[in-house]
């Protein structure tokens, strides 16, 4: 297989397989989790302003009092790399073109120099988070193979995409193919690892907010 065939494969059958596994995986996992259901709370509810599942879905995006100071790297690094990923994934014109070809949906892209900067900042934040995971006793203690693996699987698409645009290391065509392949690996891995929090965190925040709103506690 030469580099052009490689690119053709990752753009064609490779992408179909990855997107297929991703979509089916997400649907299956959501079913597996949320079909377990829960019991109705029979205690008399108390109502309080600002207490509901939806409130908590939004409120938990902000650090609770005192926590930012105790773990600044988690919060600041976390914000930067999540927002950075969103900017790079959804703001880069070629990505938007791909989505348009697949779904017909389109939106204006961001200037490529800005995307460049966002990619570098995102990678820097991810490296800082990785170092923090190695250095901080609690994070290191909690970490399993999955934590290192999912970090790498998330980092590689950003790195290879950035390198393709910068024409670094490998010829553009090869690097682009490697980039697409890394995204495909990410898509396949996402539903079956902790990366699935991208979907379940809304449910989790909602359940927590809902259960505590029943007691009149805005959490």
């Amino acid at each position: 297989m030469n580099e052009l065939q490689f690119l053709t494969w990752v753009r064609g059958p490779g992408l179909d397989i990855a997107v297929g596994i991703f979509l089916l995986g997400v649907l299956w996992r959501l079913f597996e989790i949320y079909s377990l259901g829960r019991k109705k709370d029979l205690s008399a509810p108390r109502h309080a302003a600002g207490a509901s599942g939806l409130h908590t879905v939004f409120r938990r995006s902000l650090p609770p009092p005192g926590l930012l100071k105790r773990s600044p790297v988690s919060y600041i690094g976390g914000y930067i790399f999540h927002i950075g990923l969103a900017v790079v994934v959804f703001g880069f014109a070629p990505h938007i073109l791909l989505v348009k070809n697949l779904t017909g949906l389109s939106w204006p892209g961001l200037p490529s120099q800005f995307i460049d900067l966002a990619a570098v900042v995102t990678m820097a934040a991810m490296v800082v988070m990785l170092v923090d995971r190695i250095n901080k006793p609690v994070k290191r203690f909690l970490s399993t193979f999955e934590d290192w693996f999912t970090w790498a699987v998330t980092f590689l698409p950003v790195l290879t995409g950035w390198m393709a645009v910068q024409h670094l290391l490998l010829p553009y065509t090869t690097m682009l193919a490697v980039h697409i392949l890394s995204v495909e690996i990410l898509l396949i891995v996402l539903p079956f690892t902790k990366l699935f929090h991208a979907f379940t965190l809304f449910g989790s925040r909602w359940y927590n907010g809902r259960a505590n709103a029943h007691k009149g506690v805005p959490v």
Binding site: W28, R29, E32, I33, Y34, S35, L36, G37, R38, K39, D41, L42, S43, A44, R46, A48, T56, V57, R60, S61, P63, P64, P65, G66, L67, R70, S71, S74, G78, K136, P137, V138, K139, R140, F141, L142, S143, T144, D147, F192, K194, F196, H197, T200, L201, G203, S204, R205, W206, Y207, N208, G209, A211, N212, K215, G216, V217, V219
Partner: protein
């Protein structure tokens, strides 16, 4: 696999619901829950990270309820939960967790971690891995009627005492009374002022109330150990008593877990909504105050602070009321850092104070509370939970700190004039 382990694992499978599944799937191992847990912040030992305390439950979830986990189990790639492991986890699930709920308040993905610890304890208890101290408390509550072995004659003796000392009647088994007042053993044995305070307050408010001879103990060690069957037996006594006496409201004493057991878990344990309301005494006092039925005179002038019981505030929603009441009788009321919703636990909630072998760790964790006290240097501490009170007193003594701890209800009652005219009885 031993019979009890098998039972424990069956219970663990049963308690797993969609929220628990969603929580486990959402965890990204960020470790922020550790920063919210006094057992971690005061020891620096990562094993006290709240989400780690649930590791055996997480594996049961993965092995039983996820496709990949089931596949891994089939081909022998997963690590089964063993008796030895659960035994090791006892310290993490009981000694080092007071069910204070701070972890659930900070988790960025929204995991209600304390909800899972409460559920995990069901399996720990069923598989015989609960600490002896709480086991004993549950057994005494089920067989004798109270965790400290208090029986009705002890309550009657105290009733007589209060009647003689204050000249106020203590009604027992009065059908149709508006309020049924519950007690905790701790109050019967250590803090008899509580009953006198309630009598004085009810007398001034002109409300009808009663104690119940078949249900005077409000604490529920079944909840703390995590055994819903026994918790149900204990709570059912109160439900039957309240229904027999046809009261409108059952008043939970100054006890955090009694409140949680009655107010939030009770109806779910008996499987139907209550026909009466459940209120904490602090909520009742706040209502009386709003209705003009609670009239106090004079003020405390020394520096007072309020220790929020976790089950009352974070897990119960009674946040503003104690502050209103404090300001009613205290001129110099100061708040500690993190007071209110994010307050730090005394270190002995959730049954932890009943675990003898957990004492050293509890005292270590108390350093957090100590630092809160040192930040405002109060002359006295007021609280609204008899268990917090005893744990605070014992820990303060250990650290040789001269700091009296009092109950909010009795503080309020001290400011009710002795010859206060009784409000017209409306019933």
């Amino acid at each position: 696999m031993s019979a009890t382990l098998e039972k424990g694992i069956r219970v663990l499978k049963e308690v797993i619901d969609a929220p628990i599944a969603s929580y486990f799937e959402s965890c990204v191992h960020c470790g922020l829950c550790a920063e919210a847990c006094l057992f971690y912040t005061e020891t620096g030992d990562p094993k006290y990270t709240p989400i780690h305390k649930l590791e055996p439950l997480r594996r049961i979830y993965e092995q039983e309820y996820t496709l990949l986990g089931r596949l891994k189990k089939m081909v022998g790639l997963s690590k089964p939960v063993t008796d030895g492991e659960l035994d090791q986890w006892q310290e993490l699930v009981y000694n080092s967790c007071t069910l204070c709920g701070r972890c659930s308040a900070v988790c960025p993905v929204g995991n209600d971690i304390v909800y899972m610890v409460r559920k995990f304890r069901e399996g720990m208890s069923a598989s015989g891995h609960a600490p002896e101290g709480i086991k004993g408390a549950v057994e005494r509550t089920v067989t004798i009627g109270s965790p400290m072995g208090v029986k009705l004659p002890a309550v009657q003796a105290q009733m007589k005492h209060v009647e003689e000392d204050y000249g106020l009647p203590i009604p027992l088994d009065v059908e149709g009374a508006e309020y049924m007042v519950m007690l905790s053993s701790m109050e019967i044995i250590n803090f008899p002022e509580y009953l006198a305070a309630v009598a004085k307050i009810m007398h001034q408010a002109g409300k009808t109330w009663t104690l119940c001879s078949t249900a005077f103990e409000a604490t529920n060690a079944g909840i703390q150990i995590g055994n819903s069957d026994l918790a149900k037996v204990i709570v059912s006594r109160i439900v039957e008593g309240a229904e027999k006496l046809k009261v409108k409201t059952v008043i939970s004493p100054e006890c955090g877990h009694a409140y949680t057991a009655l107010r939030w878990e009770g109806a779910n344990l008996v499987g139907r909504p209550f026909s009466f309301e459940v209120k904490h005494i602090i909520e009742v006092l706040d209502e009386f105050q709003q209705q003009g039925l609670l009239k106090t005179e004079g003020f405390e002038t020394d520096k007072l602070t309020f220790h929020d019981p976790c089950q009352l505030v974070r897990r119960g929603g009674v946040i503003q009321q104690p502050r209103t009441l404090m300001n009613l009788v205290a001129k110099n009321f100061v708040e500690m850092p993190d007071a209110g919703y994010m307050n730090w636990c005394c270190g002995g909630g959730g049954g932890a104070s009943a675990i003898e072998e957990g004492e050293a760790l509890r005292l270590e964790a108390f350093k957090k509370k100590k630092s809160q006290f040192e930040a405002v240097k109060p002359d006295r501490v007021v609280t609204a939970c008899a268990n917090c009170r005893i744990v605070l007193e014992e820990s303060l003594e250990h650290y040789q700190m001269e700091l009296p701890v009092i109950g909010l209800t009795e503080l309020i009652a001290e400011h009710i004039p002795d010859n206060a005219p009784q409000a017209a009885i409306k019933s």
